[in-house]
């Protein structure tokens, strides 16, 4: 139960973020959420789109280096302690969080987060056992479009 994330290599200098975003725009692909990890010299743009295969193709045809990674999309209650509860489950399962970022949409009293775990499978298993709602691609698209 994971969703596909595109990672794109960028050099850390003005204008490099525009290129891939423009390519997606011209292909009519909307970005559901994204995050930018930066170092002094380079950055990694991570983004989630519904038509990830099309996005990958468009980007690669234009010379981008793209990597597809499975990430886990989760619903987290939007109140104090909501995130802590989730992290405790993962801690007990011994799963490491590599990085995380949020979706901009809020669903009622819940927010959506994207997580990349050291072991996605173990994380999903532990979370589902604790009744945390883990979203697949279709479910994610449905929620974001409504």
């Amino acid at each position: 139960m994971t969703v596909k994330q595109l990672s794109i290599f960028l050099e850390n200098k003005p204008g490099t973020l525009t290129g891939p975003c423009r390519l997606l725009a011209e292909a009519g692909i909307n970005i559901q959420t994204f995050a930018l990890a930066d170092t002094k010299e380079f950055g990694i743009l991570r983004l989630i789109v519904h038509e990830w295969e099309k996005a990958k193709q468009v980007l690669e045809q234009n010379g981008c280096v793209v990597r597809i990674t499975d990430v886990v999309a989760l619903e987290v209650p939007d109140h104090p302690g909501g995130l802590v509860h989730l992290l405790e489950i993962l801690e007990q399962a011994g799963v490491n969080v590599e990085y995380t970022y949020a979706f901009t949409d809020k669903l009622g009293d819940r927010v959506l987060l994207a997580f990349r775990f050291g072991d996605n499978e173990a994380a999903v298993k532990a979370l589902q056992a604790a009744k945390v709602n883990v979203l697949g691609t279709t479910e994610l698209a449905r929620r974001l479009n409504t």
Partner: protein, 441 residues
């Protein structure tokens, strides 16, 4: 899908590749004597240098006597610009070529009709050595023009009876379209340009492994064994090393056979020696030094003991192909390319080898040398490829560290590694420019 690499078909012109050594030496000596006489009679600079040494052409009685003769260096060709070293009257010259003179005037070379024919034979034997024959379609992506690569390969391919596509360099997308649509079986270009073609083909959805293309005749720039492995793994073709230089004839001085164990020198036409670059003394086979070549057939422009600046050694052991021609070991470096970084000698090819040791990295790189506060700095810019790219910063930093460590262990100097986006480093359609040296030395 693995490609079919049929056994080579023997071409009659290749017979000279298999002469028994004693017979080969006889041919070499006869031709050498005539060559020395011709140069002495018609080239003022050579005659003057012979006289300074109190030598006359009859003093050359054996191949070993070659050692007594003066060297010719690149500066001699430059000083003689344009026609000073010709041994034929202009009325007998049918072709001129010239090097891209990076410093001032170019170097001019010339050919009589016999020279053009001999060169075609050398290139024919080159193609035949790597298993090409009538019926092959050869895409010649060497530049046509003053550069010897284009026309040299062209005439050789025609003499072989193959179909030659004179596409010249550049226009990468069209190269790939024709490669695919014409069912091309062999390509001639620089190894760095072929890597560029592989990359671009991938973006265009063309997989070289699925095409009839089976051989690459790669030369005009130094490249490494690991680059060969990478090319072969990514395209399924066999990558052959061809050696040549305009001053001697152009491409076709030496060429690898299907065993890929170093280019066989066409010794009946080009006589090789290895010398100590510092003392000029001749070194035995198997010892590394500077390659010196003497043309044995050239009419328009004989070259006696031309110092190539290429560092290599001669292998005299018998190749499984049966050729009696000695082989030059891979030329990874030219004494011209050497950089001195904080007192350590470094060759760009060492950086390439270090990068390729790290799995997955394509050798698109550029070396930037600078001097900051009196200290030499080296930055190696490496293009990121899908194979090495990771979504985590940690993994990318580890890659940088692995590359940097590999360079330090191979070259012995610490270099900063900068990861850059694909296709940001300048692509060359001819010889790749690997180094920018910003120091004012």
């Amino acid at each position: 899908m693995s490609k079919v690499h049929p056994p080579p078909i023997m071409h009659p012109a290749s017979a000279m590749d298999f002469l028994p050594p004693a017979q080969l030496q006889q041919v070499q000596l006869t031709r050498l004597k005539a060559m020395v006489q011709r140069a002495y009679d018609h080239v003022a600079l050579f005659r003057q240098r012979m006289e300074e040494r109190h030598l006359q052409p009859p003093d050359v009685n054996s191949l070993a006597d070659l050692e007594k003769l003066p060297f010719t260096v690149k500066a001699d060709l430059r000083d003689a610009y344009p026609f000073g070293l010709f041994a034929s009257p202009l009325s007998e010259i049918v072709r001129f070529h010239a090097s891209s003179g990076t410093t001032g005037k170019p170097i001019v070379v010339a050919y009589t009709q016999e020279d053009v024919d001999d060169w075609s034979q050398a290139m024919l034997r080159s193609f035949a050595a790597c298993g090409l024959h009538r019926g092959d379609i050869i895409q010649n992506a060497y530049g046509y023009g003053l550069f010897t690569g284009g026309l040299g390969a062209h005439y050789g391919a025609e003499a072989l009876g193959a179909g030659v596509i004179p596409i010249s360099g550049g226009n990468t997308d069209r190269q790939i379209m024709i490669l695919k649509d014409f069912g091309v079986t062999a390509i001639c270009c620089t190894p760095s340009y072929f890597l560029h073609l592989i990359d671009r083909a991938g973006e265009m959805g063309v997989n070289f492994k699925e095409l009839p293309l089976r051989a690459g005749v790669f030369g005009a720039e130094p490249w490494t064994e690991s680059m060969r492995q990478r090319i072969e793994a990514e395209s399924g073709i066999k990558a052959y090393d061809i050696y040549g230089l305009s001053e001697i004839v152009g491409p076709g001085v030496a060429m690898e056979c299907v065993h890929q164990s170093g280019p066989h020198i066409f010794e009946d036409m080009f006589y090789p020696e290895i010398i100590d670059p510092d003392t000029g003394r001749v070194l035995p086979d198997g010892t590394e030094g500077e390659l010196v070549l003497t043309t044995l057939c050239k009419r328009a422009m004989p070259m006696i003991r031309y110092r190539t600046r290429d560092i290599t050694s001669l292998a005299a052991d018998r190749c499984p192909c049966g050729r009696t021609l000695r082989r030059i070991c891979r030329i990874g470096r030219r004494s011209d390319d050497m950089l001195i970084i904080r007192g350590v000698n470094m060759f760009p090819s060492q950086i390439e080898a270090a990068l390729l040791k790290v799995e997955g990295t394509l050798p698109h790189y550029h070396i930037l040398v600078d001097r900051v506060k009196g200290l030499d700095t080296v930055e190696v810019q490496v293009e990121v490829t899908p194979e090495v790219f990771s979504d985590t910063v940690g993994a990318m930093e580890q890659l940088q560290a692995r590359l940097s460590h590999s360079i330090e262990s191979v070259v012995g100097i610490r270099a900063a590694v900068r990861l850059v986006a694909p296709r940001t480093l300048q692509r060359s359609e001819g010889k790749a420019k690997r180094v920018t040296d910003k120091r004012n030395l």
